[in-house]
């Protein structure tokens, strides 16, 4: 069902490096202590280097890897696999393309005009509501669904990058039987011949393993199947599951519930290792980030205050007003101590972790905000912490106010670790003769103590449905390529329980099948298309339960158009937390290993997605690799520096991977990402990172004490997009506390001021029409990188691969700079997204010899790719270094025709030797202006959204006409916090920033 966009507001390093001298921590500490005022630094090596350049020398010169030490073949295949553009250069002949008109033109389809369709992307079982842009039948850009209560228009990086997954040339393309290409019919024959599924059989030996299922239709099909085959069993396993939350709610309420937070109503937020500002770490990220961000904007609503107690340096910790780094294992004791200080339980045994004064101030703050505060337990925390969080929220009167409970979104919630263990036991016992794995990659992701891979061999007939011919597929008899969600009919619940319809944007590119089809194949019913399966199911629901609407067809069409079934979220439950919480468990001292969903590859499923691989990981800015994050103190103890490979030994299992020293990391915690080191993946993901699943067991899925770390002596270069550099006291990110801001609202202009306009030698431009500008609120930017991927997708930005990133040639038009403020033990990262500043007096324009970058009548610094000869003078003269150069032919698509369909047809293809940069999405501006001109009106405020603005989950980016005093962007620019980056250079940037204002508790002195 097409979205009519006039109605809908949404339109649209492996080089050997000599080991460096270890860091002199004490000296660094002294230096920081002596430094006056806030001092900014980017990483610890950098800090160490500020008073000596040996470290620099070590870092800079050994990387003299020549351009060709990398493997050229790999490089080209990388480019081929994930790159962004059709091969067109002066050197390459343009491929012949046939243009054939429609014989029967589809309704609503105008060539050159995009259409938008609502659907939902499933990830971790939950649906992420999206609007997908389709150009001539090719989906090529994902936006959030602003009408959906779980998105409100924002997106995260996974949804943004998912469109690349659709066109990934490395996807499985045909059904295979033991590696040989077969047809679907052959598969059906083989399956239906199985004794388990014969008419009248009980399905003995039949097992179905799915990922988390929230799809009502799929659940309905599964239930039907289980009824038909009473001996069959259904198991669910996903490596990033919600077992802890489920078990926690069982402890607290005796049943499984979903917990929902209303951060918009919370003045004080306490995160117990809940990284709710990272899309990989929390299913409700979009909503929570929006609600959190709105309370950081200082526009009418009072600032909230965030306390984070966490076991890694996360985005949530970065945004926290107060942060305490603890081992994951100590957080339970911390929560216990809080509860006892609230007078709800007897005091916990032993000394509670963390500073008592800090905790006391926190308790007082929470108590002062009863009913207006919230305690979040981390998805990667223990069941006990979840139970304690429930108790804390109850004790603080938050239940019903800022916290609500509903029945779980899953159709049949299970403890997945148990479910998988049960399946493995059955397989080992030889009770499984037909195993159908619908999605997921359990061979790769199963816990180390659940020998799924070994047991799989004992299962009789193994069928695997998945996007890629992965590790699991290799061990199954049959592999059926799964449909990408953009090709599929299905449904899925989002984290709030609202049902979203998954509708296809394109017919399956290959011989793909959905889980619905697989289940139909198992039943003896007449084969049914997934569309009919889904629609029929909802038809039955419509008649039996009155969901609303006049007739089903109308209801169905409206739901398809909207992307979700209105009012399908479950009603809140009234629950009281049980009083008898589990007795606190004593945690031994020692080193802890902590597993985290990776910000880019999630559980490993996105390993072959080049956009995500090249995306700088939040805070570390490492790309194309995985690293163990360790604290400075631990690095000193181990005598290692970043990029040194260490051996991690946990419960007798060992892996080796490089370390990355991360300020703010708790001293006794080694944090490793999940999902890397996939032995069987596509061209992009091959050889990227180290597999950490072998260390992870089902008892300690997220963290566990008892880790041994040893130095191996070898190194692996990590490609960080920016490393080891400090702010050098420059006034780049301007910050104040709320008290300071109230005292001096002009604080952002205290140190530097822009020179008056009119100093330029050249005549100033006048803007009779629009004057586009952007304001970015640093206070509500959470550094999640959704904007960066959105920009990449919108603007056909190529990826360049690890070797090129190491050489400093990444192509992102928009980047999120991260600087640390604060002291050594309590660092506070600050985020600053940097698009092109579109300067009024642009240094780039004046130095281009051929006029390839020129000032537009609307104030943009237009880049004329066709005219660019590639002198790169503009890049040198850009103080913001936002320009990106095609040093090589990065846009190489020969041999991967599927990627050609991915490209945004409104954006030029850039050839080798051409400069490019952020254009404020000029293609969108033009489209919007043309639409407005056709209606004989001005472009309305908010009608034109840049890709980054539209993607931003916290709405930190505002774009509009600064010539219109009433526009949102003009109003933000008149805010006293508004300042231009490097404005003292006289560039007069069109992109400006709103200075950050923190809200620390005055009771806590750091």
């Amino acid at each position: 069902m097409a979205h009519d966009n006039t109605v809908h507001p949404c339109h649209a390093k492996t080089a050997p490096v000599q080991p460096a001298a270890p860091l002199d921590l004490d000296r660094l500490r002294r230096q920081l202590a002596e430094a006056q005022g806030p001092r900014y630094w980017r990483s610890l090596e950098e800090l160490a280097a500020t008073d000596g350049f040996q470290e620099m020398l070590h870092r800079e010169f050994p990387r003299q890897a020549s351009v060709f030490t990398g493997n050229r073949r790999d490089f080209i295949s990388l480019m081929g696999a994930s790159l962004a553009m059709a091969g067109m250069t002066a050197c390459t002949r343009q491929p012949t393309e046939l243009i054939v008109p429609y014989v029967k033109q589809p309704e609503d389809l105008l060539p050159g005009r995009p259409q938008f369709f609502a659907t939902s992307m499933p990830l971790g079982g939950y649906g992420f509501p999206v609007l997908v842009r389709s150009d001539m039948g090719r989906p090529n850009k994902i936006e959030g669904n602003p009408d959906h209560p779980a998105s409100l228009g924002g997106t995260d990086l996974f949804t943004q990058a998912s469109v690349l997954g659709l066109y990934d040339p490395d996807r499985a393309q045909t059904p295979t039987a033991n590696g040989e290409v077969r047809g679907w019919d052959e598969f059906l024959q083989a399956l239906r011949a199985r004794p388990e599924v014969q008419a009248g059989g009980r399905g003995t030996g039949l097992r179905i393993l799915t990922e988390t299922v929230t799809s009502p239709t799929l659940a309905f099909q599964l239930q039907n199947l289980l009824q038909r085959y009473p001996d069959a069993k259904w198991h669910q396993w996903e490596p990033i599951n919600r077992d802890a939350a489920r078990q926690g709610s069982q402890l607290a309420f005796g049943r499984m519930v979903d917990t929902h937070y209303q951060l918009d109503k919370a003045d004080v937020i306490l995160s117990l290792d809940a990284d709710f500002l990272s899309s990989a770490s929390h299913p409700a990220f979009l909503l929570l980030a929006r609600q959190f961000g709105e309370r950081r904007k200082l526009r009418g609503v009072p600032l909230n205050r965030l306390y984070a107690v966490e076991s890694a340096m996360t985005l949530t910790g970065a945004k926290a007003d107060h942060r305490m780094a603890l081992r994951g294992s100590d957080i339970e004791a911390f929560a216990q101590a809080l509860l006892s200080e609230l007078g709800k339980t007897a005091s916990a045994p032993g000394a509670a972790p963390g500073q008592a004064a800090w905790r006391a101030a926190l308790v007082a703050d929470l108590q002062q905000h009863r009913g207006r505060c919230v305690v979040l337990a981390g998805e990667q925390q223990s069941p006990a912490v979840h139970a304690l969080a429930h108790a804390l929220n109850a004790a603080l009167g938050n239940v019903g106010a800022t916290v609500t409970y509903t029945a779980p979104a899953e159709a049949v919630p299970v403890i997945q670790a148990d479910s998988l263990r049960q399946l493995v036991q059955d397989m080992q016992a030889g009770q499984v003769s037909l195993l159908m794995i619908l999605g997921g990659n359990p061979v790769f992701s199963a816990p180390a103590d659940v020998p799924f891979q070994d047991a799989l061999g004992k299962a009789g007939f193994r069928v695997h449905l998945s996007l890629y011919a992965d590790e699991t597929a290799a061990l199954c008899d049959w592999h059926i390529p799964e449909t990408h969600y953009l090709e599929a009919w299905s449904d899925v619940r989002s984290h709030d329980g609202t049902v979203g319809i998954v509708q296809p944007l394109i017919a399956p590119l290959y011989e793909n099948r959905t889980a619905h089809e697989m289940l139909t194949a198992l039943s003896d019913q007449v084969f049914q298309a997934p569309y009919d399966t889904v629609k029929q199911f909802w038809n039955t629901q419509f008649t039996t339960a009155t969901i609303g609407g006049t007739d089903f067809e109308h209801y169905w069409r409206k739901s398809l158009h909207d992307g979700f079934l209105a009012g399908s979220a479950p009603a809140p439950l009234a629950l009281t937390a049980a009083a008898n919480l589990p007795a606190p468990t004593a945690v031994p001292q020692g080193l802890e290993i902590s597993f985290r969903p990776d910000a880019s590859v999630y559980d490993g499923r996105f390993i072959n997605n080049g956009w995500l691989q090249e995306l700088p990981r939040p805070i570390t800015h490492v790309t194309w690799d995985s690293a163990a994050l360790i604290s400075v103190a631990l690095a000193k103890r181990l005598n290692v520096v970043s990029e040194d490979i260490v051996a991690l030994n946990y419960h007798g299992r060992q892996i080796e991977l490089p370390v990355w020293i991360q300020a703010g990391q708790p001293d006794d915690v080694v944090t490793v990402p999940l999902g890397y080191g996939r032995p069987r993946t596509g061209r992009v993901g091959t050889g990227v990172g180290t597999n950490t699943y072998p260390l992870r067991d089902s008892q300690t899925p997220w963290f566990g004490v008892g880790l041994a770390v040893s130095k191996t002596g070898s190194r692996r270069g990590l490609a960080a997009t920016h490393d080891h550099h400090s702010m050098e006291g420059r006034d780049l990110i301007r910050t104040a506390t709320l008290a300071e801001y109230q005292q001096d609202p002009q604080f952002a202009h205290a140190k530097t001021e822009a020179p008056p306009p009119g100093l330029s030698l050249y005549t100033p431009y006048s803007y009779p029409g629009y004057a586009w500008g952007m304001a970015i609120d640093i206070n509500s930017c959470i550094g999640c990188n959704a904007c960066v991927v959105a920009c990449q997708a919108e603007n056909n930005i190529p990826i360049v691969g690890k070797a090129e990133v190491e050489r400093g040639r990444e192509m992102h038009w928009l980047r999120v700079d991260t600087y640390y403020t604060g002291n050594f033990d309590d660092p506070k990262p600050q985020f600053q997204p940097i698009p092109c500043m579109q300067c009024e007096d642009a240094p780039c324009e004046q130095v281009c010899p051929v006029g390839a970058t020129v000032h537009s009548s609307e104030g943009l610094n237009d880049m004329v790719y066709n005219r660019c000869v590639g002198t790169r003078y503009c890049s040198n003269n850009c103080p913001y270094k936002v320009r990106r150069f095609n040093f090589l032919h990065y846009a190489w698509l020969e041999g991967t025709p599927s990627l050609e369909a991915l490209q945004n047809p409104d954006v030029s293809v850039r050839s080798r030797g051409v400069m490019e940069k952020c254009t404020y999405c000029v293609q969108r501006i033009n489209r919007t202006r043309i639409n407005a001109e056709k209606d004989n009106r001005q472009v309305r405020d908010g009608e034109m959204q840049t890709a980054c603005e539209q993607a931003c989950p916290t709405r930190a980016i505002t774009f509009g006409n600064i010539g219109d005093r009433q526009s949102r962007v003009a109003q933000l620019k008149s805010d006293t916090r508004n300042y231009g980056l490097l404005e003292e250079q006289g560039t007069r940037p069109r992109t400006t920033y709103l200075a950050a204002v923190g809200n620390p508790n005055p009771e806590i002195k750091i």
Binding site: F53, L57, A65, V67, S726, G851, Y873, L888
Partner: protein, 461 residues
């Protein structure tokens, strides 16, 4: 008459070598210079040198072919260091190209007749250096096949170059300089070409030189026109010597980069250019003199004079370094201060300190007459200065670019083997051209050297 005679017979200071060795006559000069090309067997050392140079040239061709096929990404440049070896080499070669015209034009106008023995090959050096230099901006471009967009040609799209850009100024400055230098050199060659025509043995050689000699018959009218053309061209070339490197320095001075944006650049660049140019003259003169046994024509006096020019320009350059640092500090701009700090102790500090050693410290030896008289020492010091001047451009370009305004974008630059191949390759090109010049054309201006002979002076009276 008495006093005049006294002045004329005033002996030269005994320590000064003569500009031309005693005992030379018109005939001996003509024979010496023309036999080197037309009669004498080519020295073995020439073949040895040519073999090496041609090999390097072949490497250059290979590197450029690969560069054109793959793109400038084969070099070490990146963002923020978007300019690397190519621009360093461009500025370096252009600098070297300054000495020839300075010697021929400015010294000519100042009646420094000692320059007559070295101006010809110095001019050739200029042309070849400018040729090497001129290639770099082209190779450096992302899309070099579109280089002509830099010129204001009548395009059907009616697009012109963007005249505010110093790169466009460069195009004019360098192409004008190359044209005038070529003309100047060629005009100066005409009488000598005629001599070669007259002395050549083989017909085709005679014809070739004949065509090039443009019908020179050595009549008084020819000489009169020749002299005025030569003088006019010298007058034309003189401002160019100063303007070219001034304009090249604008590439940096006009940009806003800390370390580039400074008003001292034009004089400092010009002085540096002459500095390196004279160093290259010595690097060439000393072996040529030995190779062709030209000690009688290129005397220690010439070498010493070149050394003195180097010493003087070296001091101007030193002043430039000093004031760059002073202005950075005194200006109080935090970015400038950081830039100076970064040069002194940053990751590229070894380059800066080597540059100071090469350009500032070691050339101070030239104060000593003993060193100036020592051919080997001069040769080595000249090479050191050439290295130093190359490092200067490296420091200006790379050290400034790698750490500018936003620390988040700071990076580093490491040259790749292709950077080196192209750089060393242009040395091959330069020396190949130079050796071919020695083989085919009068390396020393026969007509002008004759003017240095006592006989010429008598005739003038």
């Amino acid at each position: 008459m008495e006093p005049v005679a006294q002045i004329e017979t005033l002996p030269e200071p005994p320590q000064e070598s003569p500009v031309i060795a005693p005992g030379q006559t018109f005939a001996s000069v003509t024979a010496k210079i023309s036999n080197a090309v037309l009669v004498d067997p080519t020295p073995l050392s020439w073949f040895a040198a040519f073999a090496v140079a041609a090999l390097l040239l072949a490497m250059f061709m290979g590197a450029v072919t690969y560069l054109l096929l793959r793109g400038v990404g084969i070099w070490g440049i990146n963002v923020p260091v978007a300019w690397g070896f190519a621009i360093i080499n461009f500025v370096w070669w252009i600098g070297i190209g300054h000495a020839g015209t300075l010697i021929s034009a400015i010294l000519h106008l100042f009646h420094q007749s000692w320059r007559n023995a070295i101006n010809r090959f110095a001019e050739a050096m200029t042309l070849f250096a400018v040729a090497c230099a001129g290639m770099f901006p082209l190779l450096h471009m992302g899309r070099p096949w579109l280089f002509y967009w830099m010129f204001p040609y009548p395009s059907t799209m009616q697009v012109w170059p963007q005249f505010r850009s110093p790169l466009v100024w460069d195009v004019f400055a360098v192409s004008t300089y190359a044209t005038v230098s070529l003309l100047f050199w060629f005009v100066g060659l005409i009488p000598d070409l005629a001599t070669y025509r007259d002395r050549a043995q083989r017909t085709w050689v005679k014809r070739l030189y004949g065509v090039l000699a443009m019908g020179w018959r050595g009549s008084a009218r020819h000489w009169k026109r020749y002299e005025s053309a030569y003088l006019l061209l010298a007058g034309l070339a003189t401002p160019l010597v100063l303007s070219v490197h001034t304009v090249v320095s604008f590439d940096f001075a006009v940009a806003n980069m800390p370390g580039w944006h400074t008003t001292i650049f034009p004089p400092y660049f010009v002085a540096g250019a002459i500095y390196s140019g004279f160093a290259m003259v010595l690097v060439l003169a000393i072996p040529i003199r030995a190779m062709y046994n030209m000690h009688a024509l290129i005397t220690p006096r010439h070498l010493e004079n070149c050394a003195k020019v180097m010493l003087a320009t070296g001091l101007v350059v030193a002043y430039g370094y000093l004031f760059e640092g002073f202005a950075g500090w005194y200006g109080g701009n935090q970015y400038e201060i950081y830039m100076i700090h970064n040069r002194l102790v940053g990751s590229y500090a070894p380059f800066y300190w080597s540059l100071l050693t090469c350009n500032l410290l070691i050339p101070q030896l030239l104060w000593l007459r003993k060193i100036r008289k020592n051919v080997l020492a001069l040769f080595l010091i000249s090479i050191v200065v050439l290295v130093g001047m190359w490092l200067e451009r490296f420091v200006i370009i790379v050290t400034s670019l790698h750490r500018d305004f936003l620390p988040s974008s700071w990076g580093h630059y490491t040259a790749t083997r292709w950077d080196w191949a192209v750089f060393i390759g242009t040395l091959g090109l330069f020396f190949t051209l130079m050796l071919l010049f020695l083989r085919a054309l009068p390396m020393i201006s026969i007509a002008e050297v004759k003017m240095l002979l006592p006989a010429a002076k008598v005739e003038a009276e």
